[in-house]
């Protein structure tokens, strides 16, 4: 009896909290099924990525199954202009759940957040980099 007196308000509070914080609903990827069952992916995607990262970096294995690039290829959305939206933007596939669970991703400090698309301002001309670094004497020594 005393237990229920303590538990009941807690239950009600948690129900209220749950009502206020909607469950994340990340946009669906292309295709019917991800590379692993959904519950496995939810729990273990970071382990797959970490494993694949070393396989690719050090052993040159570029299988597509657990590749981060392939995640992007299926899971990035396009905006009205037909341009890809960053996968870590609010509401997008990665960020939707990571915001909900309060887990920060480091992947995209270096990795691309969209499949390759022409970027405005990607410089073709880099004449300023053509300065000499070697002198001929050093070079021919």
């Amino acid at each position: 009896m005393r237990l229920s007196v303590i538990l009941l308000p807690l239950l009600i509070m948690s129900a209220v909290a749950a009502a206020e914080l909607p469950k994340p609903s990340p946009p669906r990827g292309d295709g019917a099924q991800c590379v692993e069952p959904t519950d496995v992916m939810r729990r273990d995607h970071m382990r797959f990525l970490m494993h694949q990262r070393d396989e690719t970096m050090h052993r040159g294995i570029r299988t597509k199954k657990h590749s981060l690039v392939e995640c992007l290829n299926c899971h990035t959305q396009k905006d009205e202009q037909g341009r890809f939206v960053s996968i870590n933007a609010p509401g997008q596939f990665c960020q939707e759940c990571h915001a909900y669970s309060g887990v920060k991703m480091d992947c995209f400090e270096c990795h691309a957040t969209t499949p390759r698309q022409p970027t405005p301002g990607s410089a073709r001309s880099r004449d300023h980099l053509l300065g000499d670094v070697f002198t001929p004497l050093q070079f021919m020594r």
Partner: protein, 251 residues
Amino acid sequence: MPSSNQNSQINESRRKWVGGAGAAAAVLTLAPGVRLLELAAARSEEEPVSGKVRWGMLVDTTKCAQGCTECVDACNDEHGLIGMGRPLTDAQYIRKLDLKDKLTGKTYSLPVMCQHCETPPCVDVCPTGASFRRADGIVLVDKHICIGCRYCMMACPYKARSFVHEDLTNQVPETPRGKGTVESCNFCVHRVDRDRDPACVEACAQAGHKALVFGDLNDASSAVSQQMAELPSRQIREDLGLNTGVRYHGV
């Protein structure tokens, strides 16, 4: 009395001779028809890289056109290298050099990039193991491990490496790049792993110069090996004995 430099050269050639003799003996003792060193076949996707292959490049400076920057532009496009307007620190994987022999007035134009040494000084000095040489001879930075100390940049005799100083966005999928890590030419490893030539080689051929030849140095039938057998070639700073994967003809 020989200088220490001469000494090391003597030892090196001796070591090579001894090693070569050992390998020859190993081949001889095998049963007829069984070869110790199999020629590298095209690698399947699941198969790791192996030391059977050594990737390398020959730069024919007699074909390299002065003022042409096709290789540099292609590299920047391929890897998404965008200048920050700071030439001293902007990332460059490959750069063009114009050299002039003061005595004769002859000018040379050539690209310089990571030379993919067999014994890379950048790997020697790396405190974390981020700078490493892949089994097939490509020297890379594992940016997951790189702490940005830049010892490798100091150690590299070719000034091949760059450091990322700024927060970056819009990287390309094949070349992750981020602030606080060192980077350099990776022979377009993502292409090489899929049996394609590096972007600079492709661009040079498309521009009609064909000054860059890429391939497996261990495979005598590859284009690069055949060219190297035909043309005299040199390493930059060959005195360092690094056995570079990039060789130059005509300098």
